[in-house]
């Protein structure tokens, strides 16, 4: 077998790596060994990983190489390393969900469905990734495992709660990673770390054997350095799963083969009103993407501020209910910032939550009407580039606001009704920032096609950070 220098694959896409393995130009084992070496060398600077499953990964890579030697046709992601936010079950390990308390949990008996499906497609799990405690976080500053450092400036946050997922991808440790998104936890870190992220339609991808946060808002999805890698990972994970009652009985709708259709013929508008950009970075990023797509029409998402408010209180209430017993018995073991929000959430009256759920129905109907007029909507993904680690406030629309609850100001009104979104990174210097491409329910293909068209034209890209 002709070995390409495995070190070359550190910044390769998943598609390039899989193609090299399938063509016999590289072995899965060498690729995985090189990826593990990168993690050993670079992760101490980023702090993205909380566990490295090296033995498992080496065994899996060896199996793939043996299958190749036997002449077996390899699956689409053969030999591609990936890692998962530590709220995905990994057999044999407790599922941390970023929490000290969960270190006492029994080891998971089986992998999360998403990990099983990715490994069935040939991908190789390298480990578990750091995250904000119980996913109630937009910063990635975990008090138990330490903060995740943004690879573009290690003094800055990676964003959360899928902080390790975004940083591991942006820092070249893995080509793609799994994250979860309840109010923006894939999209905010993707924006701050300058990578692509996909939050699919609510109910599209199985959440089976993941640690929940706010059940009626929880989604899972991939982060990657290219749109094709997002699509390949997404295609491998699609399909009904009876183990997640929210996962819909809908046939998989593969998108990788559709990317070349691009954005031609699609009606694309820019979200105005509530989503109107308020910082120089967001103005530049959205304008650049809109100009490249010829999107010169504004559209108003009615009552978006109220939608964010409703998402805010539903999240607080559902999360408080989830953690009530732990708040009674182990309150001192929580991240204090998470604990105090959860306690407050437990005190919200049920009548207010029911009103928020009713409003959600109204808002859903209003948003669906917009998609009769347009195919995709552009909006900022975060209100600013990455704040400093430890920074408590930032300036937004002339006001000084706390960082932790407000980084999701543009993402919460969208996930509130489960719409699919691709975040595309605009490679500003010195720090990147993301733009959301929002599509109608079940039209991930539209958002990914638009993202691919932008990437092909060089308008968006995952920038390589300084060494």
């Amino acid at each position: 077998m002709l070995e390409t220098a495995a070190a070359d694959f550190g910044w390769s896409t998943a598609a390039e790596t899989a193609a090299a393995v399938a063509a016999g130009r590289a072995s899965a084992l060498k690729i995985v060994e090189a990826a593990l070496a990168r993690i050993r060398a670079r992760d101490p600077l980023i702090n993205a990983f909380t566990a490295v499953t090296d033995e498992r990964a080496l065994d899996r890579a060896t199996e793939l190489d043996r299958a190749q030697e036997r002449g077996k046709r390899l699956p689409a992601l053969a030999g591609v390393p990936f890692a998962a936010k530590n709220l995905f079950d990994i057999a044999g390990m407790p599922t941390l969900a970023g929490a000290k308390i969960n270190r006492d949990a029994a080891p998971a008996r089986r992998d999360a469905t998403m990990i099983e499906r990715l490994e069935a497609a040939g991908a190789v799990l390298l480990g578990a990734l750091n995250m904000g405690e119980y996913a109630y976080d937009f910063t990635g500053e975990n008090p138990h495992d330490g903060p995740v450092h943004n690879p573009h400036d290690r003094e800055r946050i990676a964003g959360g709660s899928s902080s390790g997922s975004a940083a591991a991808v942006a820092g070249g440790l893995v080509p793609f990673a799994l994250g979860s998104d309840t109010n923006g936890s894939i999209r905010v870190p993707a924006s701050l770390c300058g990578v692509f992220g996909l939050k699919p339609t609510y109910g599209r991808l199985s959440r089976a054997r993941t640690f929940p946060f706010s059940a009626s808002l929880d989604h899972v999805g991939p982060l990657a350095r290219s749109v094709r890698d997002l699509a390949l990972a997404y295609d491998a994970m699609q399909g009904y799963d009876a183990d997640d009652p929210v996962c819909v009985e809908r046939a998989a709708e593969p998108v990788a083969a559709l990317l070349e259709q691009g954005a031609a013929g699609l009606r694309i508008a820019v979200a105005g009103g509530y989503f109107k950009c308020r910082s120089a970075e967001t103005v530049y990023a959205v304008d650049r993407v809109a100009a490249a797509l010829g999107a010169n029409r504004d559209i108003i998402i009615s009552q978006a501020e109220r939608a964010r408010a409703a998402a805010y209180i539903i999240t607080a209430s559902e999360a408080a209910s989830l953690h009530l017993d732990r708040l009674r018995s182990r309150a001192r073991d929580f991240d204090p910032a998470v604990r105090d929000r959860l306690i407050a959430g437990a005190m919200l009256q049920a009548s207010l939550i029911a009103r928020a759920q009713k409003f959600r129905r109204w808002y859903q109907r209003e948003i669906l009407k917009l998609f009769a007029e347009v195919d995709a909507i552009l909006a900022p993904a975060s209100p600013c580039t990455a704040p400093l680690i430890g920074q408590q406030t930032f300036t937004f629309d002339g006001a000084e606001l706390p960082v932790r609850p407000h980084l999701g100001v543009y993402t919460q009104p969208i996930s509130f009704v489960g719409l699919p979104v691709v975040v595309v990174p605009v490679p500003l210097s010195p720090l990147p920032i993301g733009v959301q491409i929002i599509a109608a329910p079940w039209r991930e293909d539209v958002a990914l096609r638009v993202a691919h068209a932008l990437e092909a034209r060089g308008v968006v890209a995952a920038p390589r950070p300084p060494d």
């Binding site: 609510y202 109910g203 009530l324 009674r328 005190m347 919200l348 928020a356 009704v417 719409l419």
Partner: protein, 80 residues
Amino acid sequence: MPGKAKSAPKVRSRAREAAAGPQDSIDTLIAASAQALRLPIDPAWHAAVRANLQLLLKQAALVEEFLLPDDTEPAPVFRA
């Protein structure tokens, strides 16, 4: 099914009154809720819990002020 939603009413919502009301009304709510829910709250956490609860009630007020028809179905689990 829900009809056209009306704009915000002139009366202040209960949640807004609670969020904006005297500090002792929030403190009373916290003390009573903690007792009813059997939640231990260290006095050192009280200020942060109060700030979070005030923020939540302010958000709840935004939602409550938006009038909806009685027959609006809630969406506890959203299906896009």
